[in-house]
């Protein structure tokens, strides 16, 4: 797993002979590139685990009835096996108990899958991974502003993740395990009324730690981008990826505290007798939803904005043109960020808001489609007339534009309060957010991965494997999620382990798609391993004249310490 840098063979930069080695290099690391690398490894690990959970969910949903989760629950939680019981009454009770535990376990998987993919896969990959690696390089800075804080940000993620894992095995509802309330953890299901056991408290603390990690990261990025740009690198000359990270970390700084506040209230309601969300004592569970989505909507943009940045770099590089409408692109992200704070109740159309309030949120939500459209059209305009080089990163970027647009369109459908009345909490919503996340955000991450892999590792990967990975994933995820639109329109609700037989057809198709996507993940891992084994040396700039940002002026991989004399940007 060694990520070799050119430390040893690049003597021009090797005047720091005390560069750390071995485990110390990583555990004590204050180097933005090493920390970025650890974030990327962590994200891959979490993504594989989160994906594994989702494939098990799809196996369950392949047919109506409970297929695997009662067995899984029995195995994992070592519940008594009804087959060994002879007393018929007892046997029935055991079977029912297994079924209940199985269905709870399915919901625990839904919850863990969502939390893992959001907090431990997409965010660490985009912000912690690519952000750490390339923000300092792109603005010509020697490192992040607070290298030690950077180290803490990363290491906070580990206990956060462990707490989430722990919650899956701790008691949740009485006699059952884990948190089954979904990543949105609405009370009263998440209060002592619904989940009295400690599983919920572990999950809350996990989110606290992950949030603390993100906040420290956000402060670090803001300081770095404001203060450490090389001479001449004005804000309006910054690469769009840096802009995207800047907007993202501002969203984090403003929205995460509200989530922290909400879950702290939940925690004190649960453990210290406060009554923020307890109706019997004058609280209101709806308040939690308002607070959650005041965070939650900006959060979904936090997940996609750095992806926008990556796509801009990739499209411009392989079209060999500067991005069309640079300033418009930068300020479109700012606009998305700002408007994103005043649309939260589009997640809450069914809670009983009055008609005027709904009308406002419909209008505000639709306005977001404008800057988003600006971005999509600018990417297309960038490609227009360019001499496009169809390398692997470009495949992923074009795939991103296509899939993200599909998700954007269903988003505008859902923005209509009247339509959403029937579609809320159905698979239509699941299809929507997976088109923008597991197809949009993930494709952006892979675009970035194949774009920067040679820079990060110093090795070239096999273009053939990268493209195969693209096609298998593209086909797989579309088969998973496109039919979910039909299921949603037909009224199938989300977050249930079982469904009426009428929904079987498209569910089966969707499940097959998830197996294809899983093969895609294996191809990805294979391609990575083979790149490490083959060790085909990457040039400093493998992409040619289109790659104009500063990281391509450095060696591949870059020296342990770069820019000891600051570059001057003209």
């Amino acid at each position: 797993m060694a990520m070799a840098y050119a430390v040893k063979d690049d003597h021009a930069h090797d005047d720091h002979s005390h560069d750390p080695t071995g485990w110390r290099r990583y555990v004590y690391s204050t180097n933005h590139k090493d920390i970025g690398t650890m974030y990327l490894w962590f994200a891959i690990m979490a993504g594989v685990l989160g994906g594994f959970l989702s494939v098990l969910m799809r196996m369950e949903l392949q047919q109506p009835g409970i297929q695997i989760f009662h067995g899984l629950a029995q195995m994992v939680y070592s519940l008594p096996d009804p087959a060994t019981v002879t007393d018929p009454a007892k046997k029935l009770a055991y079977e029912q108990g297994l079924l209940d535990n199985g269905m709870q376990m399915y919901n625990v998987f839904v919850t863990a899958h969502g939390l893992i993919m959001i907090f431990f896969m997409v965010m660490p990959a985009m912000i912690g991974g690519f952000g750490n690696w390339f923000v300092p390089l792109m603005i010509g800075a020697p490192d992040m502003a607070f290298p030690r804080m950077n180290n803490i940000s990363f290491w906070l993620l580990i206990p956060a993740f462990l707490l989430l894992m722990l919650s899956m095995f701790a008691e949740g509802p009485s006699g059952m395990y884990g948190v089954g309330g979904g990543w949105t953890i609405y009370p009263p299901l998440s209060s002592t009324a619904g989940t009295p056991g400690p599983a919920m408290d572990f999950a809350i603390l996990s989110i606290h730690l992950a949030g603390a990690s993100s906040i420290l990261g956000a402060i670090n990025f803001i300081t770095t981008i404001f203060n450490m740009r090389a001479p001449g690198m004005t804000l309006h000359k910054m690469p769009l990826f840096v802009w995207s990270v800047l907007v993202t970390v501002f969203l984090l700084l403003l929205s995460l505290p509200v989530l922290a506040g909400a879950i702290t209230m939940l925690l004190t309601d649960r453990n210290f007798g406060t009554s923020f969300f307890v109706p019997s004592k004058g609280g209101d569970p709806l308040l939690f939803q308002h607070l959650f989505w005041f965070f939650g909507h900006p959060e979904v943009y936090i997940l996609i904005l750095p992806g926008f940045g990556i796509i801009s770099q990739v499209i411009s590089t392989f079209s060999k043109k500067p991005v069309f409408g640079y300033l418009g692109m930068a300020y479109a992200m700012v606009a998305i960020g700002v408007v994103g704070f005043v649309v939260w109740a589009h997640h809450m159309y069914t809670v009983g808001l009055d008609a005027d309030t709904q009308a406002y949120f419909v209008a505000a939500t639709m306005i977001i489609a404008v800057p988003t459209g600006v971005k999509i059209f600018s990417w297309i305009a960038t490609m227009w007339g360019g001499s496009i080089d169809f390398r692997a990163p470009m495949y992923w970027a074009i795939g991103f534009i296509f899939l993200f647009t599909v998700g954007g369109v269903t988003g505008v459908v859902l923005a209509n309060a009247g339509v959403d009345r029937t579609l809320h909490h159905t698979y239509y919503v699941v299809a929507h957010f997976h088109y923008v996340l597991s197809l949009g955000a993930v494709f952006a991450i892979f675009a970035g991965w194949y774009y920067w892999f040679p820079k990060i590792t110093g090795y070239m990967y096999s273009e053939r494997i990268a493209k195969l990975h693209f096609w298998v994933t593209f086909i797989g995820v579309n088969i998973v999620f496109f039919p979910q639109h039909f299921l949603g329109l037909a009224g199938m609700p989300r977050r249930y382990a079982d469904y009426p037989a009428a929904y079987e057809g498209w569910n089966r198709v969707s499940s097959y798609g998830s197996y294809i996507s899983a093969v895609g993940v294996l191809i990805f891992l294979y391609g990575m391993v083979s790149a490490y084994l083959k060790k085909v040396k990457a040039p400093d700039n493998p992409w040619g004249v289109g790659a104009t940002t500063l990281e391509w002026t450095l060696s591949s991989p870059p020296p342990f310490h770069q820019f000891s004399t600051l570059p001057v940007i003209k």
Binding site: I222, N227, L253, A260, G352
Partner: protein, 189 residues
């Protein structure tokens, strides 16, 4: 460049200040939200009034009565009338019956709202058993009155004027939940 560390520290401190401020705001949202619900009747929060308006209108509206009891309270709790046809603006009296079927004395508080939610701003209570806690000895039965009126302003409200029926709902909870008894003193009203 010598000033960089202090410049960095300044930006970081400002950012940390924003973070703390936002946490503060999320807590400030709690009283704000309560005041907002009270003022606007949001979510079916009912109003409290001293007395009914001087003259009633000649328009009628149906008021339905609903009663629920938390599983933690061994009480029977029912409305005496399921529905009343009332004049908008006129003061009315409705009764609920509660009986303690447990073997201990218990105290309960009733939580209430009306639906549709947009009627909340126009449903005014003058007297209600829900304003105070109720204590019942084992086996004791009690008549619980509520006097209310529907505000004539309802007829001028774009959202609410088409409402033909308002449901007033109560849920009785134990006032001293044994699990949180020792901790809930601060919230006991």
């Amino acid at each position: 460049m010598a000033a960089l560390p202090s410049k960095n520290l300044r930006v970081a401190l400002i950012a940390a200040g924003v973070f703390v401020g936002m946490i503060g705001l999320s807590y400030a949202a709690v009283p704000f939200y309560k005041a907002f619900c009270k003022a606007t009747g949001f979510g079916g929060t009912t109003q409290r009034a001293e007395k009914a308006p001087d003259k009633a209108t000649d328009q009628f509206i149906m008021v339905r009565f609903d009663a629920n009891t938390s599983s933690g309270l061994p009480w029977e709790f029912h409305p005496r009338q399921n529905v009343m046809k009332v004049k908008i603006g006129e003061q009315n009296m409705a009764y609920y019956d509660a009986r303690n079927i447990g073997s201990n004395t218990n105290t309960g508080t009733a939580v209430f709202n009306v639906s549709p939610a947009s009627a909340g701003a126009f449903f005014d209570k003058i007297q209600c058993f829900c304003f105070t806690k109720q204590t019942l000895k084992a086996g004791q039965a009690e008549e619980l009155p509520v006097s209310f009126f529907v505000d004539p302003a309802l007829l001028d409200d774009a959202d609410a004027r088409n409402i033909k029926e308002i449901t007033l709902s109560y849920t009785f909870y134990p006032a001293t939940d044994p699990a949180v008894q020792s901790k809930s003193v601060a919230n006991s009203n």
